[in-house]
């Protein structure tokens, strides 16, 4: 994998050197900018602001989406009634929720996070609804006969069956959430990677755009490999 990424960087360098265009900087120039932004502290300020928003929006949407998905998956009448709502919210463009949230709730972090969550919740709910529909009736009966009660049933019977769906929602969720967080930052916040990118756009500063993009992709990769994947393999130890 490292080899193929290196090849991409080399290819990029060659094309950039050949093109000699200020809107296509070489990878070395981009790393220079990255270094500069890191040294003057801007990089940390903006990425940490973005990460905080991503974390809050992610947790909020995973929680609410899971609850909605479980209710819809388990109760047929609720599912029939709210299915149309879910499709509506799934197809609502991110731009619409973002502008409306800012207009209705003001240019605040709360509005920004609400907008991101509204984009992500339907997605999580659809995933978790599938999970709730596939819950085993056999295990439910077993839990009922052996008088597990609701808490033991949730913890030992229901949630373990939902982990694959939860993991899928979490991984696709993280990708979606951080992309939308950048958009809400560009629109109405004065900190964060999205805000920094919008400034760079006004100056047509491609090096800075690429530098921040690179930094953030790197961070998300680290979260994926250092947090999500080990977590998933831990909850899967029982599988043959």
């Amino acid at each position: 994998m490292a080899g193929s990424l290196l090849a991409l960087a080399v290819l990029w360098q060659l094309i950039a050197v050949y093109a000699q265009n200020k809107y296509l900087p070489t990878p070395l120039t981009v790393f220079d900018v990255l270094w500069r932004e890191g040294a003057n502290g801007d990089l940390w300020k903006h990425t940490s602001a973005t990460l905080a928003r991503v974390a809050v929006a992610f947790v909020v949407s995973m929680f609410i989406g899971t609850v909605i998905g479980l209710v819809l998956g388990r109760y047929h009448t609720a599912d029939k009634f709210f299915d149309a709502w879910l499709i509506l919210f799934l197809n609502l463009p991110a731009l619409v929720t973002i502008t409306l949230c800012y207009i209705w709730f003001g240019l605040t972090d709360a509005a920004a996070i609400t907008a991101v969550a509204l984009n992500k919740i339907p997605n999580v709910a659809v995933n978790m609804r599938e999970g709730a529909r596939s819950l085993s009736k056999d295990f439910d009966e077993m839990a009922q006969v052996y008088k597990f009660g609701w808490w033991k049933t949730l913890r030992h019977v229901t949630l373990p069956q939902l982990t694959p769906f939860f993991a899928a929602a979490a991984r696709s969720g993280l990708a979606l959430v951080w992309k939308i967080v950048l958009v809400v930052e560009a629109f109405g916040r004065s900190s964060g990677v999205g805000y920094r990118l919008s400034i760079a756009f006004q100056e047509f500063d491609v090096s800075t755009i690429l530098a921040y993009a690179l930094a953030f992709i790197l961070i998300v990769q680290i979260i994926e490999f250092a947090v999500l994947q080990p977590l998933q393999s831990r909850v899967n130890t029982w599988r043959r």
């Binding site: 009922q144 006969v145 052996y146 597990f148 909850v235």
Partner: protein
């Protein structure tokens, strides 16, 4: 201890299902599964319910267990209903919990019976496998774990739904003798469903035969075998012929 159990288990179990109908689904018409199935079970007896596939045996067990409430009739388990265990046709062990955890989960938190789990694992021969996940075990071992989960409750009523199907012969034989041993050391009322006639004769003290189509009890007989005769193939076969010839 024995005196308390006797006082609890003294009342017989009364089952009286006037009718149980599976409602129509799609193209399939509504189906009468059970009709006028009534019987009493004396405490500490081992009743085998037998009959061909599809005659409603499993449905009957689900009704007795309270899992199926959509029927006409009544089931009176008396005080024993709070101590009911069910051993299903598939082991139904939680694959994401170890053997030990699966057994412990059948008990309320902090229950004194937790202390008896190691001895129970010893009895069913799973001491070595207590920390294994069920899917890594053979079906025979999974069924042993399911037996342990049922018996750790020290149940007053034990319902069993063909718990030894899909096992090879030697494994089935060893599990049957394990069940007999467990039943002797933890006496309880057993209702055991099977379509295997030899198994029915070998294990039971009484047989209820359900007939297909009629969906009701066609025969209710006591099995007259001593403990020694139960291990004697010829005696089991003779008793089988006596009962099923009728």
């Amino acid at each position: 201890m024995a005196a308390v159990k006797d006082a609890n288990g003294a009342a017989p179990i009364r089952v009286s299902v006037r009718s149980k109908v599976f409602p129509a689904v799609g193209d399939r018409e509504a189906q009468l599964v059970l009709k006028d199935v009534s019987f009493e079970v004396a405490p500490r007896s081992f009743v085998v319910v037998t009959g061909p596939s599809g005659c409603g045996k499993s449905t009957l067990l689900n009704i007795i267990a309270g899992l199926d409430r959509d029927y006409q009739g009544s089931v009176d388990l008396g005080p024993a209903k709070d101590r009911l265990a069910f051993i299903f046709q598939t082991p139904r062990l939680l694959p994401w919990r170890t053997v030990y955890e699966n057994i412990a989960l059948a008990l309320p938190d902090g229950d004194p019976r937790h202390a008896k789990i190691p001895a129970m694992l010893e009895d069913v021969g799973l001491s070595q496998a207590k920390n294994a996940y069920p899917e890594r075990l053979s079906l025979g071992m999974q069924r042993r774990a399911a037996l342990a989960r049922g018996f750790i409750l020290e149940p007053e009523i034990l319902l069993m739904d063909e718990p030894f199907v899909s096992l090879d012969d030697p494994t089935a034989v060893s599990l049957r003798s394990l069940l007999t041993d467990l039943w002797h050391s933890h006496p309880t009322t057993v209702i055991f469903v099977t379509h295997d006639r030899a198994e029915a004769i070998q294990l039971g003290t009484r047989i209820l035969r359900l007939a297909p189509g009629k969906a009701s009890v066609v025969q209710d007989v006591t099995i007259n075998l001593t403990e020694a005769q139960r291990h004697d193939r010829a005696a089991v076969l003779a008793e089988q012929n006596r009962i099923f010839a009728a």
